[in-house]
Symmetry: C2
Subunit: 140 residues, 2 copies
């Protein structure tokens, strides 16, 4: 079974809370709560977006949009930053980051510019998982 | 006519060479040749990808993929970085950046980390425009 052999890259597991899956796509939240920073990790060996097989790619694209709308509204963001970088962690992952003019590193891009550390409470996380279940269902 | 009223944000015109259009999407190349750094600018007032109207969005998505494949091959890149950020320049633009392990700021993300300046020659630019015309035609 595909589910049994797919493993998240250890850097991703270390830095992000797992928030569940949507089909074959894992949804995670950066443990550092300085920014509402999510990633989506599709279960694929592809390293570039253009190499993700078509059905999974479509689900991923739809989920990116749905998550971006959710983050924009829930965290009252001024801008959503979306990116697939992967220079350090090769396992394909797409960043969906909510940005506000009053956040820790506006207007800089988040990568390498977050110098503040905060945590989510268990209550925050549970509420977020519930809201995501309602508002960002399976991308299929 | 839409074409007559759409104007590129002055920061984009200042920092990027225009390389032509594909339908209603402008293709540009960062003047600093330290990295092969392209952007795509769709003619839209939308500020977030998820707000780009469907026909244009589809063209944009296809063009991102085609440009990414082109950049990967032509510049012998190890990774393609794709992003929509827009914290500083609100006009919607998607970055397609070719990265190599031996480039100026590997493995850092490019934004805010390029501290080297190089230029493209006119010959380089002409060859690139020609190759793009052949290999990255209209995304439609």
């Amino acid at each position: 079974m595909r589910d049994e052999i797919f493993e998240l890259h250890p850097n991703l597991s270390a830095d992000f809370h797992p928030l569940g899956r949507r089909g074959a796509i894992h949804l995670l939240l950066r443990r550092n709560a300085a920014l509402p920073w999510f990633i989506l990790v599709p279960e694929t060996d592809a390293l570039e977006l253009y190499d993700v097989p078509t059905p999974l790619r479509r689900e991923l694209d739809q989920l990116i949009d749905a998550l971006a709308r959710f983050v924009k509204a829930r965290f009252a963001c001024d801008k959503i930053n979306i990116a697939a970088i992967g220079n350090i962690v090769p396992q394909l992952h797409v960043h969906v980051i909510g940005r506000r003019r009053d956040d820790c590193c506006w207007p800089q891009a988040a990568w390498g510019h977050v110098h503040e550390t905060r945590s989510y409470s268990d209550t925050d996380l549970a509420a977020l998982v519930q809201a995501l279940a309602n508002e960002v269902p399976n991308g299929r």
